[in-house]
């Protein structure tokens, strides 16, 4: 952090200014000229928080993708299918047992097992053949997409959260002042989204701790840097590989349940989330968990703001972020070259 400040004072100043402006926009009661410029504060805050929660969801999907790529150099283009598979499993389990919370372990376990199957029967058989892996995973995603369409149909499905999680929650943020009485109006925000955001942050922190503070994390980081050397020291690297693959796939499955709860499940979502994770890891930097978090929040926010403020060009905003990152920092914001 200090080194960054010493090396890039201007960058730091720009980031600090942006953060200050953002904090002002969030906490201040907007004066009239600002309302005229940007529209209602409520719209702004909603877009911001929707963007952050969407970013949390993207992070859940993309962190597994980036972990698998960072460690094994496996490009798993079936990652979006794992997401959708998790969503459908969560839907069935939640509908079948009636417990929303059960959907998470079920999706994690089943999709994780499926990930092990993929790792053992596909990726291990064609190590170091990037192109073939990519093609095979594209094939798998086509087949899976059609099987899921077959089994679950093409309708939009929704995982219904329990009643104690539904409904809005009053927050401490002020959106405006009532003209008649002068009372402050507070922002109401869906409780489920807040819970999901907090859960994603918890998962992210847990992953960071696991990677940076435990022995398993040490093995994984060593494997990212130099897997030949790691296996030469006697680590059973294939076990680590299978474990990480299962974990990454399981995370995608959990993300599926999350996405199915606050958005909807439908054919085509697999592609959408595959692309979201691609863009997130391209922006954040391949193989970096922190990068995935940064990229996910950036893409989530830009997508929401884009759809609120420039509806017909919102994709362009996201795309331009990717282009700019590729143009000026091809390894990604936090990636190592």
């Amino acid at each position: 952090m200090r080194r960054f400040a010493e090396n890039h004072p201007w960058w730091l100043a720009a980031i600090a200014t942006a953060a200050a402006i953002l904090l002002y926009l969030i906490f201040a009661i907007w004066p009239d000229w600002l309302v005229q410029m940007l529209g209602k504060k409520k719209v702004f805050l909603n877009a911001l928080f929707n963007g952050i929660t969407l970013g949390a969801l993207y992070f859940l999907v993309a962190s597994g993708f980036t972990l698998i790529f960072g460690l094994m150099r496996n490009v798993n283009l079936a990652h979006g299918s794992l997401y959708l598979l998790g969503a459908y499993i969560g839907y069935s389990v939640a509908g079948w047992t009636g417990y929303w919370l059960l959907a998470f372990p079920a999706a994690f376990l089943i999709v994780g097992l499926f990930g092990i199957v993929l790792q053992v029967f596909v990726f291990r058989r064609m190590e170091r053949q990037d192109l073939r892996q990519t093609l095979v995973t594209i094939g798998i995603s086509i087949v899976l997409a059609d099987i899921m369409l077959w089994v679950f149909g093409g309708d939009f499905l929704n995982i219904i959260p329990p009643t104690w999680l539904s409904g809005p929650m009053e927050t401490i943020l002020v959106t405006g002042v009532k003209r008649s009485s002068g009372d402050l109006i507070y922002l109401k925000y869906p409780l489920i989204r807040i819970v999901i955001f907090l859960a994603s942050v918890a998962i992210g922190v847990a992953m960071w701790t696991l990677l940076n503070r435990t022995r398993i994390g040490m093995l994984i980081r060593a494997g990212v840097d130099d897997r030949e050397m790691l296996s030469a020291t006697g680590v059973r690297i294939q076990l680590v590989f299978a474990g990480v693959f299962a974990f990454g796939a399981g995370l995608a499955g959990i993300a599926g349940v999350v996405g199915g709860t606050f958005q909807s499940i439908a054919p085509g979502e697999d592609v959408r989330f595959l692309l979201a994770s691609l863009v997130v890891v391209i922006v954040g930097g391949m193989g970096s968990i922190t990068g995935a978090a940064l990229g996910a929040v950036l893409i989530g926010i830009s997508e929401q703001f884009g759809s609120v403020y420039f509806p017909t060009y919102s994709v362009v905003v996201t795309f331009m972020i990717m282009v700019l990152v590729l143009a000026f920092r091809p390894q990604g914001l936090l990636g190592r070259s």
Binding site: L131, T134, I142, V143, D146, L275, I282
Partner: protein
């Protein structure tokens, strides 16, 4: 120079085909095969000679198709400019080539397997862009009534005329690809594919060659895109969606990315499957919508067992026939 007799046979058959084939075969099967083949040829050129698997070639085709609809004539008169064909078509090709060049430059910012991801992201971004932009691209419904010009008094959407039109362009790009692959540029490109470092040490500008390859490969894709638009007289976001982009990859891989002919073989197999597999699937007892399952499984089988596609199988067959049956080694056949 000795010409492979297969060329004479294939050429003769394709030229006299309209004499006995039905309109459906000419317009749908072969017209579509040649169009898909051209777009897949563009991918094959980049992947086979340059080692860059670009999933954005269908988007290049889509851009060209859209530009013809926007600058030329269509039923959406608010947007279409209605310029004559000799302006709109070159302009469409030029814009498609510029788009491909920009794509190539972006994709080449990082190395190796990133290319496929970046081009997939670009393809998807443009699909969503076409879909949500109503000012230029007319959103979800796209453009209809995009017809070819009545050049030389011929209705080019007449099955026989369209057949020869697509055949002409397919052949032109096929031989063009072979010519370029043997030109100094093509040889340098293949050198870069095999060892970029050594080529850089020899004084070749690696990035420039790669980006130029994207620009060159844009033309078959762009012409394919324009013909595709004329064939169905419409273009919409779905034409250049993610599914079609991956289908082009499937076509190229099934055929084999070692030689330009693979693109057309793959396209032919794909078109035949897409047209007739439905009957087969229904016959087996599944719904006709299971087509993608079949295509996916077929694609998986090809990449699992014969990564070089049908061409790879052919090579294997040739090699095994060349084996001496007694010694099991390569030798002259008796």
């Amino acid at each position: 120079m000795r010409v492979n007799p297969a060329y004479w046979v294939a050429g003769a058959v394709l030229l006299i085909l309209p004499a006995f084939a039905s309109d459906f075969v000419l317009y749908q099967l072969f017209g579509w095969t040649f169009i898909l083949g051209m777009i897949a040829l563009s991918l094959m050129f980049l992947a086979g000679y340059g080692g860059m698997v670009s999933l954005a070639q269908m988007t290049v085709a889509g851009v060209a198709g859209y530009m013809v609809a926007i600058f030329g004539e269509s039923a959406i008169t608010d947007i279409s400019q209605g310029w004559p064909w000799y302006v709109s078509i070159p302009l469409a090709l030029l814009i498609a080539a510029l788009f491909a060049t920009a794509t190539g430059w972006l994709a080449d910012r990082t190395e190796g397997i990133y290319t496929i991801m970046i081009t997939l992201a670009i393809a998807a971004a443009f699909f969503y862009f076409f879909n949500q932009n109503y000012v230029i691209f007319n959103g979800f419904s796209g453009f209809n009534g995009v017809l070819p010009p009545e050049l030389f008094g011929v209705n080019w959407r007449d099955p026989i005329a369209f057949y020869y039109l697509t055949l002409f362009w397919a052949a032109a790009w096929y031989f063009g690809a072979i010519y370029v692959s043997r030109s100094p540029f093509g040889l340098a490109l293949q050198g870069i594919r095999d060892n970029p470092r050594r080529m850089a040490a020899l004084g070749y500008h690696v990035t420039a060659h790669k980006v130029a390859a994207y620009a060159v490969a844009a033309f078959p894709a762009a012409v394919g895109g324009i013909l595709l638009t004329w064939q169905s007289a419409q273009i919409s976001p779905g034409t250049a969606g993610i599914g079609p982009a991956i289908d082009i990859l499937i076509v190229a891989v099934i055929g084999g990315i070692g030689h330009p002919v693979g693109a057309f073989i793959g396209a032919f197999i794909y078109v035949i499957l897409k047209t007739f597999a439905i009957d087969l699937i229904v016959f087996v007892g599944l719904g006709s919508e299971r087509f993608r399952l079949l295509i996916g499984l077929g694609f998986l089988a090809v990449v699992f067992w014969s990564p070089d596609g049908v061409l790879g199988l052919w090579e294997k067959l040739k090699r095994s026939r060349g084996l001496n049956p007694l010694l099991r080694k390569a030798g002259r056949r008796p």
